[in-house]
């Protein structure tokens, strides 16, 4: 367990947080790791807060419980910061990634005293610019890969290109947009403004 990376996703039903968790598991699997990707199902309805989880490890994963002390938290809908204690149990040396147009400094007061690293990504703006619609999960997935370091970004990018090519075989015009969304999300979390951490 000590060698297992644990990630918790917070989103709303229909936003793709579960899909993002499964895609991250998929990508990590392809780099030779052991993975778990699973959602917690509550009432099944659009817009309800949902949680999804990833465990990623070089060793076999046996634990089948939710994640209470994650290394990383990803928040796909910033409005959840007001209603869900997203930083609960989040490790001090971990990080939280929030989909927002605001800066990390602006978000931190909403994090109920969390002292670790805060990253922000404007996944909505990235998605609307590259895909013309609000599909936040692709940029959030890229941000999660960049921040967690769960796999090499180049390997991830190549895999995503292959999987988009497969998924969008009949509408290849969206492949480039998705790839651009990944790169923009990488840049967002790499920018100095995104990496604030209270020592």
């Amino acid at each position: 367990m000590d060698n297992t990376l644990e990630i918790r996703w917070h989103g709303r039903g229909g936003q793709g947080a579960k899909t993002a968790a499964l895609l991250l598991a998929d990508a990590a699997f392809k780099t030779g790791q052991n993975v778990q990707g699973f959602p917690e199902y509550g009432p099944e309805r659009m817009g309800a807060p949902i949680t999804a989880f990833n465990r990623i490890s070089r060793e076999r994963i046996r634990v089948h419980s939710n994640i209470y002390h994650p290394d990383f938290v990803v928040v796909v809908d910033e409005m959840l910061l007001h209603s869900v204690h997203v930083t609960e149990g989040l490790k001090r040396d971990g990080a939280i990634i929030v989909n927002t147009s605001r800066t990390a400094e602006e978000i931190r007061p909403l994090l109920r005293g969390y002292k670790g690293a805060v990253y922000t990504v404007d996944a909505r703006a990235i998605s609307e610019e590259t895909l013309g619609k609000n599909f936040p999960n692709t940029p959030m997935l890229a941000a999660a890969v960049a921040v967690t370091g769960v796999m090499d970004k180049k390997d991830f990018t190549e895999q995503m290109r292959a999987s988009f090519a497969h998924k969008f075989a009949r509408k290849p015009e969206v492949i480039d947009g998705n790839m651009r969304a990944l790169r923009m999300a990488f840049r967002a979390v790499e920018s100095a403004a995104g990496m604030t951490k209270i020592a």
Binding site: V35, G37, P39, H64
Partner: protein
Amino acid sequence: MKRAKAIRERMSGNEAVAFAIRQVNPDVMPAFPITPSTEIPQMVSAYIANGEIDTEFVPVESEHSAMSAAIGAESAGARTMTATSSAGLALMWEELLLAASNRLPIVLTLVNRTLSGPININCDHSDGMGARDTGWIQIYAENNQEAYDNYIQAFPIAEDPRVHLPVMVCQDGFITSHAVENIELLEDGPVRDFVGQYEPEEFLLNPGKPVAVGPYSISAYAMEAKKAQEDAMEQSRAVIAEVAARFGELSGRQYGFFEEYRTGDADYIMVIMGSAAGTAKEAADQLREEGWKVGVLKLRVFRPFPDQEIAEALKNCRAAAIMDRCESYNGCSGPLGMEIPAALYRNKVMIETADYIYGLAGRDFTVEHAREIFAQLRDAADGKIPAARHAYVGLREQ
């Protein structure tokens, strides 16, 4: 048997079972969708639509009809399977008994979900446990790998002439059915060879040898039929072991009636079924590192009930925690909480036991819960606290 090549993959427990169904290519699958097993008939329908298998899928109007159609198809001589969960299994109730007493080797993949009420879609074992006296063999899985492996083993067990009983292959709803994890698959050819062609000795559509299925039996003979059915259940022990040994040669994965995880020298053993067993093993490893001698007995085959083997496996520990993911509403204990102490007593093993109810309707069971139970077990064995009786784990405090 030659060791088959392993295919490294990742998929959910439902995908793993659907993939196994594709490899087995059963003759008939009547099914009615219910969460969390819905994906299985959905994926099998896609395999059929894509021409990958030629299974006859029968879209019925209820689970009662699904099991009725399964009984009809299997009686006619077709290899038949279905999938369900929760209320779906409950609605099959009458037919489950008919399938077993007519000695029809139907395979049912059960994705365990609680029964109402309150209405809830999440995992516990109350559906499978409710069917524990229906005459079906029941095999439970810890993860997607075991769900896949158990499914492949189910057909040779069910169809063996010494058995001729239906088999229920169970996995935990959502926890494994919807979790994507690594898995090692086998290639199609070796799976088909392992399962073999189904050649029933007697079947309805055999004009050369007419038989009756399910006729009235007068009291002068009915009791003998019931005894013969019970004999088959007893004989299934040997067949389950033989099939597991053959599967071990094929896959390299060994299966018994239960898995003994670090129990050899253990003072404290947790007896548990399904996905929570992995969580319990993690707790056992942590406590071992802290110097405790603890282990986990993961029950895989619940019917037939391996009472002597369990007693033998537990006889040298100081105390055992018996974990039920099911309430019996008997004012006393869960099903395992009753059956395991009975197995110990019948086999003259007089150790301390404690029994717990956990994980009802999807309540999470964590490594911390398992550690706390081991601590309580030690204190009970030391006489510091009374052993837990019918104690609830992780219950919300009022």
